[in-house]
Homo-oligomer: 231 residues x 2
DNA sequence: GAGTGGTCTAGACCACTCG
DNA sequence: GAGTGGTCTAGACCACTCG
C-alpha cells in the first residue's frame, strides 16, 4: 500500500545484484524520486532505511554510495536478568555490600586513586533455585553515599542509582568474553571448575566521570544469546 | 542547528524523569508540534528516533506511549572474521569439503531427510599463524551443486553462494553460547581441552527453505565482543 | 557554481482506536 | 465521529562536495 517499501525493496535488489557499481554514487534523491514517481521525501525514506540497515552510506554534498557486499552479521542483545529468567522464580542473594579501598585494578578501570573509597556489591542471581549469574559491582562511593540504605536484594541497583539517587548515566561500555570459571566462581554457581561462562564487563559513565564497573559471570550451560536478521 | 535533536533530547529527558506517566499516551503529534513550534513532520522525526531507541512505542489510532524505564542493555555485533583479524595475515585452511549424507542431527536443523546429500565444509581460520576459528558448515547440496569448484580457502563461501550461485538469503538466525572445547576442537585450535570458547550456531534461510547450518567455534582467549551505547 | 544530501513546512488523505 | 499515528506531496533553504 505504502510506496516507500517498494522503492526500498527495489533498491535493495539492485544493490545486492551490483546493479549500482561500488565506488560510484547511486542516482541522486531527486532522480530516484523522479524514477519512482514520488516526492523526494518518500524516496529519502526508503534510502533512510537502507542506510540504517547498512546497505548504503551518504555523504552530504557528494551522494549516496553502496556499502559493499560485506556480510551483515547481526547483533546479540543482552537482556536484563529478570527478563530472560521470567516465568521462573528468581532470587537475588547479596554476599557482600560494603565500602572498600580501591585496589590498583579497580583504580584503573574507575580512573580513581588506589585507596579511594569504593562501594563493592557482590550478588548472586538465581532462577528456580539454580544460581545463574554472579555479579561484582564497584561504584564510586562519593557518588552513592546512601546506596547501602536500600534493599540491594530486592531492588535493581541500576534503577536505584538512576531514579532514587539521581545519577545521570550518559554512556555504557561493555565487553563480552568466554572464560573458564575459577574455583571461587564455580563454587558459587555450583558447577565444576573450568566450566565455560560468559563474562560481561561493563563500565558506566556520567559525562567523562566513571560511575561503576561491573563484572557478570553468566553460566554458559544455561544461557545463550539469540539473534535473527535479514541480510 | 536542526530542531529535531532538541525536541528529541527534551522528550528523552521527560521520559527518563517520568514527566509522562507510564500507561498514558504522550501528547499527540500535532500537540507536540504546536508546543515546540514546528511542523508535525519535524516532531515525528524526533519521536521516530526515540521509538527506534526503545523509549516509546506507537499504536496507530491510539497514541505514543512511554516504554517504561527498563535498562537498555545494548547489543554485541558479530564482525566478520576478516574484519576483526585485519592488520594481521590471515589464512584459511580447508580440512574437508565433500558431499555427505545428512545425519539425523543435520537433517533436523536443515529440515531435510536423513541421508539427503549435504555439502560439508570444515575450515580453520588463522591469524598470525594462530588458529582462531573452527568452522563446520552444512549446505543443502541441491542448492549449490557447483560450490566445490570454487576455491574455498580463498573465497568467502557466503559471497560465492550469494553472488556467483545466486542464492537469495532472506533470513539468518543465530545463537551465541559459551562452551568448553572438546578434544577435537581443542587440538585444531591448539589450546588445552576444555578451554572456553564462543560457539555461534547460524542457520540461513531462503524464504522458508533452509539453506545452510554453520557452527563457529571462536577461541575465548582471543576474541571479545565490544559494545558502547547511551542508556 | 552546479549538484548533492539534510532539514523543514503546511498542508492532505488514510487506517486505525476508542468511547 | 473525533482523535490518533502512517504516509505522502511540492515546495523551500541550507551546508556541503567537487571539478
Amino acid at each position: 500500500m505504502a510506496k516507500y517499501p517498494l522503492i526500498k525493496a527495489t533498491l535493495k535488489e539492485r544493490l545486492l545484484s551490483s546493479y549500482y557499481p561500488e565506488g560510484l554514487p547511486l542516482p541522486s534523491e531527486p532522480q530516484l524520486a523522479k524514477e519512482f514517481e514520488v516526492s523526494r521525501m518518500t524516496a529519502r525514506r526508503a534510502i533512510d532505511e537502507l542506510e540504517r540497515e547498512g546497505y548504503v552510506y551518504r555523504i552530504q554534498g557528494a551522494g549516496t554510495f553502496p556499502t559493499g557486499k560485506r556480510f551483515r552479521q547481526g547483533v546479540f542483545r543482552v537482556r536484563p536478568f529478570r527478563e530472560w529468567a521470567r516465568g521462573t522464580e528468581t532470587q537475588t542473594r547479596v554476599l557482600q555490600a560494603r565500602v572498600v579501598e580501591a585496589t590498583p585494578e579497580i583504580a584503573i578501570v574507575l580512573q580513581a586513586q588506589v585507596g579511594d573509597p569504593v562501594l563493592f556489591v557482590h550478588r548472586i542471581r538465581s532462577a528456580a533455585d539454580e544460581p545463574l549469574v554472579i555479579e561484582k559491582r564497584y561504584i564510586m562511593h562519593e557518588l552513592v553515599p546512601d546506596l547501602l540504605e536500600h534493599n540491594l536484594a530486592a531492588e535493581s541497583i541500576h534503577e536505584v542509582m538512576v531514579e532514587k539517587l539521581g545519577i545521570n548515566l550518559t554512556r555504557v561500555e561493555q565487553s563480552l568474553e568466554a572464560v573458564n570459571l575459577r574455583q571461587e566462581e564455580a563454587d558459587f554457581l555450583r558447577v565444576p571448575l573450568g566450566t565455560a561462562a560468559f563474562l560481561i564487563r561493563r563500565t558506566t559513565y556520567s559525562g567523562i566521570k566513571r560511575v561503576s564497573y561491573i563484572n557478570y559471570w553468566v553460566r554458559g550451560d544455561r544461557y545463550a544469546f539469540q539473534d535473527s536478521f535479514e541480510p
